[in-house]
């Protein structure tokens, strides 16, 4: 099949208006299934070439920027698969969640209008007819944005050119901004702006680095840059720009300012995309741009990344201990998990890098599951505060089991994929420590392992507060969520266990590639 990746990336963009029109005309069901079907198709055609090794597509672009290409290699394919698998299952998940959310927003608006009218006239009739139209309209916008968001993420990881990378990097920001601003919680407009502002600052710093590289090398293509080499005078500048720019995306310690707000207040299906899929793309950027394009600088900064990762792990974990809001807890947990990713990238060993990439996979599955659990709780119970929850395991057994599998994935307990990521990552760190005979690296390795206990503590405590203990009386009528919610969760849970038992599914792509990168 030809133009597979082109289809996978641009079909969602081109057909996003169709989702809107369908929703307007036929209601949420049709838009949901259309989005789901479209993404499923794109996922399938994209996965097929993965198994036959590296796959590339090139298209002519402007002379100034170089070629417009898509590359699916051992580095990009796990990212690409996780991004689209998550987007696909979340399309289904979105339906009940967003219909509820939009209905709530409608009621809120009506309430405000009623207060404005103030003369107390009944608006019940207008409401019932208005609601349907409002929901259809809004859900159409939602799915259209959803498709663009997914496509932006995929494009970023498939890009073969600095400018192309940057464009897709920004493309995913815009729908992200609108999704939070339109459908978020709390001070959603302010938070959307916050999210946009910080990640945009990161992106601009990144762009500066890109321009410095591209203009000095004379080409923006990855392959060309690799071939020509980057002039030594801008090496350090480029490396720092890339690390800082992507550090914001990864929400590394100090740059994590935006993340707890954005992830906690975004509508939950979007949180479940933002956190597992989107921020990890920063990690992808570090692989592609730093490790591969600037290997010398990477060696130079590796230990720094290692330490930064460690601090981020602990900081995120400690903050997660203090949260009462489930989604905010997961947001901090994501920061901590991104710390693992940075830690692994800083390990400067092939297995450590492979482990870091595997962490992205398992974090995608695990945190996806956990955010979906949070969404199910919000839908069925209506609160995110853990002090008001408890004892739900018996009421929502499927959600509880899936959340437990997600929790195990995040904690890195076999047989989930988390363990496979974690052991390779830490083993890689140890390998480098032994090779270099570095005491600091030995200590970071030890502390890194200890940090898994911290992860375990906040995750298990969260599970206890949500699912175990005394069931509050007002929750005694809680029901299990609908199939739209539980089926996607079961898919991810099953996926996590399969990968955990048979990691070769991803390792077969990742490890040979990383061996090549590190020259092992």
């Amino acid at each position: 099949m030809q133009y597979v990746l082109l289809q996978a990336v641009f079909l969602p963009l081109l057909l996003s208006p169709v989702a809107y029109v369908l929703a307007r005309k036929y209601g949420p069901n049709s838009a949901t299934w259309f989005t789901f079907g479209l993404l499923l198709y794109c996922t399938t055609i994209m996965i097929a070439p993965v198994f036959s090794g590296t796959y590339e597509e090139h298209f002519p672009w402007t002379k100034l920027f170089g070629e417009f290409g898509f590359l699916l290699d051992g580095l990009a394919s796990p990212f690409a698969i996780i991004i689209y698998v998550l987007s696909t299952v979340l399309a289904l998940y979105s339906k009940p969640y967003m219909v509820r959310k939009i209905t709530e927003q409608f009621e809120e608006r009506m309430h405000k209008q009623n207060q404005l009218i103030a003369d107390g006239q009944s608006t019940a009739m207008i409401e019932s007819s208005g609601l349907k139209g409002y929901v259809n309209n809004q859900i159409g916008i939602y799915f259209a944005l959803f498709l663009v968001f997914a496509m932006g993420m995929l494009g970023t990881v498939l890009a073969t050119n600095l400018i192309e990378f940057y464009v897709f990097f920004e493309v995913m920001l815009i729908p992200g901004f609108f999704l939070i601003a339109l459908y978020g919680y709390g001070a959603r407009r302010r938070i959307a702006l916050l999210f946009f502002f910080w990640t945009h600052v990161g992106a601009v710093v990144l762009l500066l680095g890109f321009l410095a590289i591209g203009l000095n090398v004379g080409s923006f293509d990855f392959s060309a840059i690799k071939e020509h080499g980057i002039p030594p005078n801008i090496l350090t500048f480029a490396a720092i720009a890339i690390i800082l720019g992507l550090g914001v995306k990864l929400a590394a310690f100090i740059f994590h300012i935006w993340l707890p707000y954005a992830h906690a207040e975004a509508p939950t299906p979007i949180s479940a995309l933002l956190s597992p899929a989107m921020i990890g793309i920063g990690g992808y950027g570090l692989f592609r741009l730093l490790v591969m394009l600037l290997p010398g600088q990477y060696e130079h900064f590796a230990l720094f990344l290692n330490l930064w990762g460690l601090v981020t792990i602990f900081y995120g974990g400690i903050m997660a201990l203090m949260q009462d809001d489930i989604k905010r807890l997961f947001a901090y947990s994501s920061i901590s998990q991104m710390g693992y990713l940075i830690f692994g990238i800083g390990s400067s060993s092939a297995l450590g890098l492979s482990g870091a990439e595997m962490m992205y996979v398992s974090h995608g599955l695990g945190k996806g599951l956990l955010f979906m659990m949070a969404g199910a709780i919000i839908l069925q119970v209506g609160t995110r505060s853990m002090t008001k929850l408890g004892g739900l395991a018996g009421k929502m057994p499927i959600t509880a089991v899936c959340a437990m599998i997600g929790a195990l994935t995040i904690m890195g307990v076999p047989p989930t994929s988390g363990f496979m990521g974690e052991w390779t990552l830490f083993y890689g760190a140890l390998q480098t420590a032994l090779q270099q005979g570095s005491t600091i690296r030995m200590i970071t390795f030890g502390l890194g392992l200890v940090s898994t206990v911290l992860t375990m503590a906040y995750i298990l405590w969260m599970i206890k507060r949500v699912f175990f203990g005394k069931l509050p009386e007002n929750l005694s009528n809680t029901k299990e969520a609908s199939w739209y919610i539980t089926a996607p969760m079961m898919v991810l849970a099953g996926f996590s266990i399969v990968v955990g038992i048979y990691p070769d599914i991803f390792f077969k792509q990742i490890i040979p590639f990383m061996n090549g990168v590190m020259g092992v």
Partner: protein, 694 residues
């Protein structure tokens, strides 16, 4: 003889070895499905699969007893070159049989014990998962695969300890309101589950570090590969990393086997259903640590042949074992809860096993200590499973976990009474007829004969512990079955509850084990010699550890003859004395009831203080909570309040304010007056013109 199975070449018997651990997992997988059709059906599935697993372990016993070894591998993580495999050597097969059959009996017992529980499906799922994980540990041929089982038992214990997740008061453990150093000693099931999982995880983290260190040098996780080519050990030893790696690996065993200082989770583990406690204490989980040491001990000891001294490693094991044995036995003397007494006892007995395995590496005769440790594991598995299940019956009947709520039960529960005596005598080490006596005696002998500098202090500690053991066991039986009925029971009887024997599905399993304890006990010495012979051969064949047969038996044979030939007289005297003293004291206080123990303790400040010290668990639990729960949370709260909420959030406010101020300045220029716009426009044009022409 190789056959094919789905295209995989298979050694003879390998199928059965795989089946031992795959069957329980398979059962766990289908149980939720079966439950959709029939809840009772799940009972049958669990028992049947446990039985099949045990039988397939037994089919391998003849070959194992002849010293055969089955090693089979399949590809797994091919990108790193790691294979999955099973290693059915005599050690593993013996262990698999112990685990398999004891688990089977516990499953049968559970059908009675858990009858009518609405969450029975979840119970069976985790029980089978538990057994499968344990068998995976036993039969794995490499560290990585073993670690799957290792975490599997951790996970299953978490799920089963917190089985009654609604945290009702009756499911708690400890006495309400009991605090030590300001830390409550009263725990809910879910709290206990988390505690167990996290504390064992601390051990697991150490174990991972040890595994990685070895993998970094050896490039393999396989036990057989590590034995065959020992170049890794030489290079590790030259960098002084071998002993740390070995001790780190032992750290995993410390966590799983609840050894000092990670022992505190074991007591709270009593919040689970009693059949779970039986499984944790007799067959799975805590035995995993001992098995790991048994697995690794010879591997490290054999390095002596290439001139690497591992004494420090074995010293750590022996001392940790000895300290734990003593530490937990003392606490067992004062606990008011029957299951907790048994839990303390388990930790203490596991300490004995560790002590024996550690001392093995320190003596010239490795196999003596090794056999003693493993023999004690087997006998402990039998009597402790029996005791726990019997205790479960008591709980079931009386409806309280406190021994003070029992008393005078011997007329009402004759069978339980008899079986508990049999198993209890084994725990006490009643001479000549119980397995416990022979296995403990073997440990004494191994320690005594080791000739190590630490032999004497460890021996004395072991002896004192044995006295305490006999005492607390007598105390337990005395408090439960002798004396007058407690107020609690009288109240129950008044309310019309009839105190009666437990159902057959419950008493038969622990009856079998109690009878076996005595039955094997009578031929105990023969059994021990059998295992000794088997292990001598096994250690020589698989690890090249030769034993020096002549040196040991000559002196002892000269003193003791008859059926006691070959028994060390000093060890024998010690065992007899320990039993006599401990049992005698227990009899005075709790069976004969000549002295009231409560009055006795309160009579003098010294006893009172010691009693309180033991009851508060040497304050270890409280110290752990202060250091690892309270203090970190305090730190976290501080960081949250004063750093994240002020400094980091401030970073948001900064640019926000700056932009707002900037906007106001720019806003100021937007006057809306056309004249001023025109002026600026003109000035701009002038400026550009100037720039162009200059």
């Amino acid at each position: 003889m190789a056959t094919e199975f789905f295209g995989l070449p298979l050694e003879a018997g390998a199928m059965n070895v795989w089946a031992i651990w795959i069957l329980p997992f398979f059962a766990a997988l289908i149980i939720p499905g079966v439950a959709k059709f029939s809840k009772r059906g799940t009972d049958g599935v669990a028992v049947a699969f446990a039985l099949m697993s045990a039988i397939s372990a037994s089919t391998l016993l003849p070959a194992a007893l002849q010293g055969h070894e089955i090693h089979d591998q399949i590809p797994w993580i091919s990108s790193i070159g790691i294979k999955a495999g099973i290693l059915g050597d005599p050690l593993a097969i013996l262990m698999a049989n112990v685990v398999g059959w004891i688990s089977f009996l516990i499953m049968v017992y559970s059908t009675g014990y858990m009858k009518g529980d609405k969450d029975i499906t979840r119970f069976w799922f985790w029980m089978m998962f538990f057994v499968g994980s344990m068998q995976l540990i036993v039969l794995s041929d490499n560290f990585l695969q073993l670690f799957f089982g290792w975490e599997g038992v951790g996970l299953a214990s978490y799920a089963l300890i917190g089985f009654w997740y609604l945290d009702k008061k009756k499911d708690h453990v400890g006495t309400e309101g009991h605090t030590a150093l300001g830390i409550s000693q009263y725990y809910s099931p879910t709290h206990a589950g988390i505690k167990a999982f996290i504390m064992t995880k601390v051990g697991d983290v150490m174990m991972l570090a040890g595994m990685f260190l070895i993998f970094a040098f050896a490039g393999t996780f396989g036990f057989r590969e590590l034995t065959h080519d020992t170049a890794w050990a030489t290079s590790m030893a030259s960098q002084n990393l071998l002993i740390p790696a070995a001790v780190l690996l032992f750290g995993g065993a410390i966590g799983k086997s609840a050894q000092f200082p990670l022992n505190e989770w074991l007591l709270e583990a009593m919040t689970g259903p009693t059949s779970v406690s039986a499984l944790i204490h007799a067959a799975t989980m805590v035995k995993a640590g001992v098995f790991l040491v048994a697995r690794l001990g010879p591997l490290f000891f054999a390095l002596a042949a290439i001139g690497i001294n591992m004494d420090q490693f074995f010293e750590v094991i022996a001392w940790v074992g000895a300290i734990t044995a003593f530490l937990l036995a003392t606490q067992g003397m004062v606990s008011p809860e029957i299951k907790k007494v048994l839990a303390y006892s388990t930790g203490s007995q596991i300490g004995y096993m560790m002590m024996a395995l550690g001392i093995a590496g320190l003596s010239r005769q490795f196999v003596d200590g090794y056999t003693a440790g493993f023999f004690h594991l087997i006998s402990h598995a039998m009597f402790k499973a029996s005791l726990f299940m019997a205790a479960g019956s008591l709980l079931h009947v009386v409806g309280s976990r406190f021994m003070t709520d029992m008393g005078g039960l011997r007329q009402h529960m004759r069978k339980t009474y008899a079986f508990m005596w049999a198993a209890g005598l084994a725990l006490m080490g009643a001479p000549f007829i119980t397995t416990g006596f022979w296995s403990k005696d073997a440990i004494f002998a191994a320690v005594y004969e080791s000739g190590n500098v630490w032999a004497l202090p460890i021996f004395s500690l072991a002896l004192v512990t044995a006295i305490i053991t006999a005492f607390y066991t007598t105390r337990m039986i005395g408090m439960v079955f002798f004396g007058n009925k407690s107020k609690h029971i009288e109240k129950m009887e008044k309310e019309g509850h009839h105190i009666h024997e437990a159902s057959a599905s419950m008493w038969v399993p622990y009856g079998i084990l109690a009878v076996l304890t005595i039955g094997i006990g009578i031929i105990g010495l023969t059994a021990e010699h059998g295992i000794h012979r088997l292990f001598t051969e096994y250690l020589a064949n698989s690890f090249g550890i030769q034993s020096h047969v002549e040196t040991v038996s000559t002196q002892s044979e000269s003193i003791l003859g008859g059926f006691l030939s070959g028994v060390n007289p000093v060890a024998l005297m010690a065992s007899l004395t320990a039993f006599a003293v401990g049992f005698g004291l227990g009899y005075i206080f709790y069976i004969g009831r000549f002295v009231d123990p409560v009055k006795f303790v309160n009579s003098n400040l010294f006893f009172y203080a010691i009693h309180k010290f033991f009851l508060n668990r040497w304050y270890l639990n409280s110290i752990i909570y202060w250091c690892f729960v309270v203090a970190p949370l305090y730190f976290a709260r501080g960081t949250w309040r004063y750093f994240e909420s002020i400094v980091i959030d401030g970073l948001n406010r900064g640019p926000e304010k700056a932009i707002a101020v900037g906007a106001r300045i720019v806003q100021g220029t937007q006057t809306g007056i056309s004249q001023s716009y025109l002026y600026v426009f003109g000035a701009g044009i002038l400026l550009i013109l100037l720039l162009l022409f200059i």
